[in-house]
């Protein structure tokens, strides 16, 4: 029988638009902050979520395992866990394997098995496949997520991790005991899907390797983007905007070697009329990027925060159809859908600013500070 006939359709079997709340904080000096602040940020934005998905990404949380990829995996059953672990052992060296610590909460129910592995690719396998370790791990993740029914890798970078669940974000944060982790940057997401997927893998952030995306919006270019990116080995199994945006970022940054600013001018490309007014050399570059990656232009409303090792990038669609503001205090930079969320983290935040459509806000931790 078709799996969708046995249970309600899962994320990926239907396309579910959703509205959302996003927030982030980063310490430019690389100081580690507990998860309490970012959880607080999500409280005043409860209206923007509906309890059907919340999540966080933290960077710099596993310093003792900084050289290992941290895989966070949901399993539906012990059987699929055994099967998947056999596969993992055939491809990777597992230096530590454990259940991710959680706290029982009435608001969070139906949890799957949630496991964490610190791994490194087997040198012999890497050499025989002639790929670098990032590409290898990315392929392992794609393989598990497409071939193992009931197993889902939701985090796969080094010295960072994603924590997500079905529930309101502030409950999800408590559930995962985020106050026990220290990160130099945090991003967070609360979801308002228009129907009930009820699957943990569908919550956000969405991640591949160390790149994570939280996103608020519904992109109208989705299928154009998806059908293009799938030419390069990505499989959009979840049918969500966030997933395709993550793959686009991975493709442009890791595979094409674009800078963050260049990446932003592909996905939120300036209008031709704006490009025409730019000085010669900049105009040539912008025209070139639009001509080369037309299918990666993202239209429709979005505000996204892209997290990566050592920094964050916030970006709005080119018409600015979703709210997003930034603020500062000391070495901290705050980004959120609403100013209230920033004030919840830092009541005295300064320089509150609403970036214009297509304007990339890039914040990096000082070199060597993480």
């Amino acid at each position: 029988m078709n799996p969708s006939e046995q249970r309600a359709p899962r994320e990926g079997e239907v396309r579910i638009p959703s509205g959302c709340a996003i927030a982030a904080v980063i310490s430019k000096s690389g100081e580690r902050m507990s998860g309490e602040g970012i959880i607080k940020a999500m409280r005043p934005m409860r209206e923007r979520s509906n309890g059907l998905g919340g999540g966080f990404a933290g960077y710099g949380i596993y310093p003792e395992y900084r050289d290992f990829f941290a895989l966070h995996i949901f399993y539906d059953s012990d059987a699929v866990r055994t099967e998947c672990e056999t596969y993992l052992r055939s491809a990777l060296e597992i230096v530590r394997s454990e259940t991710i610590p959680t706290r029982k909460l009435p608001a969070i129910t139906d949890e799957p098995l949630i496991r964490r592995y610190f791994v490194t690719p087997l040198r012999s396998v890497l050499a025989s496949m002639q790929v670098d370790e990032n590409e290898f791990v990315a392929r392992v993740v794609m393989r598990i997520n497409t071939r193992f029914d009931g197993a889902y890798v939701f985090s796969s970078g080094k010295n960072m991790g994603v924590f997500k669940a079905v529930g309101y974000p502030e409950d999800v944060g408590e559930f995962y005991r985020l106050e026990e982790y220290g990160a130099y940057s945090w991003t967070a997401h609360g979801r308002y899907p228009t129907n009930t997927p009820g699957w943990w893998g569908g919550a956000h952030p969405f991640a591949l390797l160390d790149r994570t995306v939280v996103h608020n919006g519904e992109i109208s270019s989705y299928d154009a983007n998806r059908r293009f990116i799938e030419m390069f080995g990505y499989r959009c199994t979840l049918q969500t905007d966030t997933e395709v945006i993550t793959y686009i970022a991975d493709y442009l940054i890791r595979k094409q070697g674009l800078t963050l600013t260049e990446t932003a001018s592909v996905i939120a490309a300036p209008f031709w009329s704006t490009i025409a007014r730019k000085p010669e050399s900049e105009r040539r570059e912008l025209e070139y990027l639009r001509a080369v990656f037309p299918s990666l232009l993202i239209t429709g409303p979005f505000s996204i925060i892209l997290g990566f090792t050592g920094g964050l990038m916030a970006l709005n669609d080119r018409l600015k159809l979703r709210s997003m503001v930034t603020g500062e205090k000391g070495d901290r930079v705050y980004i959120a859908s609403e100013e209230a969320a920033i004030r919840a983290m830092e009541p005295d935040a300064e320089n509150i600013y609403a970036p214009t459509g297509g304007e990339a806000v890039i914040v990096k931790v000082r070199e060597g500070a993480f």
Binding site: G217, S220, V292, S295, I298, G300
Partner: protein
């Protein structure tokens, strides 16, 4: 008079109480249907010559005329329909191949009409093209698979040659010879003003039109008529015509009667000689030969012009397109089986080839599956009838559309489907000077500009409704489409869901 096997198809109905005997109809009709009989002071018509081109109807000052389908019918028979029987009579008399023109008129499914588009409601906003920028500009040509940087880490911004279009529609190939000087001039001027391209077809480029080169696609077909270095260099791109949707697998034939001094000079053939293009290119019997021609043309134009390979939509089109995408071509143009023609054997026009919608969907998918969609741009035609067809084509995966029938309609064509006779009363498919001058290129080009401008507004409107503000984000965006009344197989080939899903 012997037996008249076929009763005239049309009847000329003249309201005698309105007719003022001005004889406009008689002067306008190249088929000599109307005649003034002075003795009885009456207009007489010979219906057997009427092709229903509506010229007289459009010019009669008192609206005294109408042309109606004759109701003199053979006995009804669902199997032996009227056309089948009439054609038997014609062939029994002539012993010849039946000829037709314009596109396939048979009631095959038109998939454009079974596809519906999406619009934004609640979860994301639609965009108003009157208030917000809405971009329809496209660039056609090969896109690099990897960006490169110079030693200072700056992007190297050189692209292979591209064609820039202000909107995703171009005028497709119609040769000088099959259509008139004024028709070519109207197309060339309109394309230049609009910032799109027109296409010379296989008959060369008249010397007067070299000034429109930047917006001209010059075609190289199997007859190589009018092809020389300067011609190749004149255009914005060079198109190799391998096939045409209306007559896949066969060449062309321009009768000597249409080869007057100007056409002769432009085609570089003797005056009055038949211009026959062979069915295949005799230097292309396989895909590697095509590659050689593509590169010969690139050499000849110093790698400055994109090369288009135009093929008819036939059964194996996905594999053929994949071969072309690896042949060095920059753009593939696919012509569907409803595409128009100046003359084609009826049997071929009406029963060879496949619909462009299915061909496009299959090709776009195949090129993506093979990861080579970026190697080429896709242009589709045959037949694209409206801005809605254009938007659906782009959402299925096309980069741009080719239109020809729609363009000649704008110039005055009334789709009488007798272009092969050379007596086009609208001055389009003819070389007779008295008829050619009926098409005023000032008015003709303006009507083409009006049509394209209207379409561009509509394209923007449709995109805005979907919440899309750039044509790039529409291309291949099949989620914006739903089928209506299509079966599983058709939906699967088109790669779309059914309405309600």
């Amino acid at each position: 008079m012997g037996i008249q096997w076929n009763y005239p198809e049309f009847e000329v109905v003249r309201n005698d109480s309105r007719c003022i005997r001005c004889q406009v109809c008689a002067r306008q009709c190249a088929n000599e249907v109307h005649r003034y009989e002075a003795e009885i002071d009456a207009m007489i018509s010979d219906e057997s010559r009427c092709v229903n081109c509506q010229r007289c109807v459009s010019l009669c000052p008192t609206r005294a005329l109408k042309i109606v389908k004759s109701d003199c019918r053979l006995r009804e028979n669902a199997n032996w329909n009227q056309d089948a029987i009439r054609e038997i009579y014609k062939q029994a008399e002539s012993g010849g191949v039946l000829l037709s023109s314009m596109g396939n008129p048979k009631p095959y499914p038109v998939y454009w009409d079974k596809i519906l588009m999406n619009a934004s409601q609640v979860t994301n906003p639609s965009i108003d093209p009157l208030r917000e920028p809405m971009e329809t500009r496209v660039s056609l040509g090969k896109k690099p698979s990897k960006v490169e940087r110079d030693e200072n880490g700056r992007l190297k911004c050189e692209l292979s040659p591209q064609i820039q279009l202000s909107m995703p529609v171009m005028f497709s190939a119609m040769s000088y010879g099959s259509i008139s000087y004024n028709a070519h001039l109207s197309l060339a001027r309109a394309a230049s003003e609009l910032g799109v391209c027109w296409n010379t077809g296989e008959g060369g480029l008249h010397q007067d039109f070299y000034q429109y080169g930047a917006h001209t696609i010059v075609q190289v077909a199997s007859g190589r008529f009018g092809v020389h270095k300067q011609y190749l260099e004149a255009g914005a791109a060079v198109e190799i015509k391998m096939g045409q949707g209306a007559k896949p697998g066969i060449g062309g034939h321009l009768p000597g009667a249409k080869v007057g001094p100007d056409v002769s000079r432009t085609r570089m053939i003797p005056e009055g000689s038949d211009a026959i293009s062979p069915a295949p290119h005799h230097d292309i019997y396989s895909i590697e030969d095509l590659r050689q021609l593509v590169y010969s043309l690139k050499e000849a134009t110093a790698y400055q012009k994109p090369v288009i390979v135009k093929v008819a939509a036939v059964h194996n089109i996905a594999a053929i397109a994949s071969g072309i995408a690896r042949s060095g071509a920059d753009i593939i143009a696919i012509d569907g089986f409803r595409g128009g023609t100046g003359a084609a054997p009826t049997r071929i026009r009406d029963s060879v080839g496949i619909p462009i919608e299915l061909a496009l969907a299959a090709v776009d998918r195949r090129l993506r599956d093979e990861g080579i969609r970026n190697n080429v741009s896709l242009v589709v035609g045959g037949s694209v009838r409206s801005s809605a067809d254009v938007v659906k084509a782009i959402a299925l995966g096309a980069d741009a559309c080719y239109i020809a029938t729609a363009a000649v309609l704008a110039l005055g064509c009334h789709l009488c489907r007798t272009c092969q006779s050379g007596k086009c009363n609208w001055g389009i498919a003819t070389q007779r000077p008295d008829l050619v001058k009926r098409l005023n290129p000032d008015i003709g080009s303006q009507r083409l500009i009006n049509l394209m401008t209207a379409w561009n507004h509509e394209i923007k409107e449709l995109m805005g409704g979907m919440g899309i503000n750039s044509i790039e984000a529409l291309r291949g965006n099949r989620l914006m489409l739903r089928g209506i009344g299509l079966n599983e197989k058709e939906l699967q080939i088109l790669g779309i869901s059914h309405a309600g899903e």
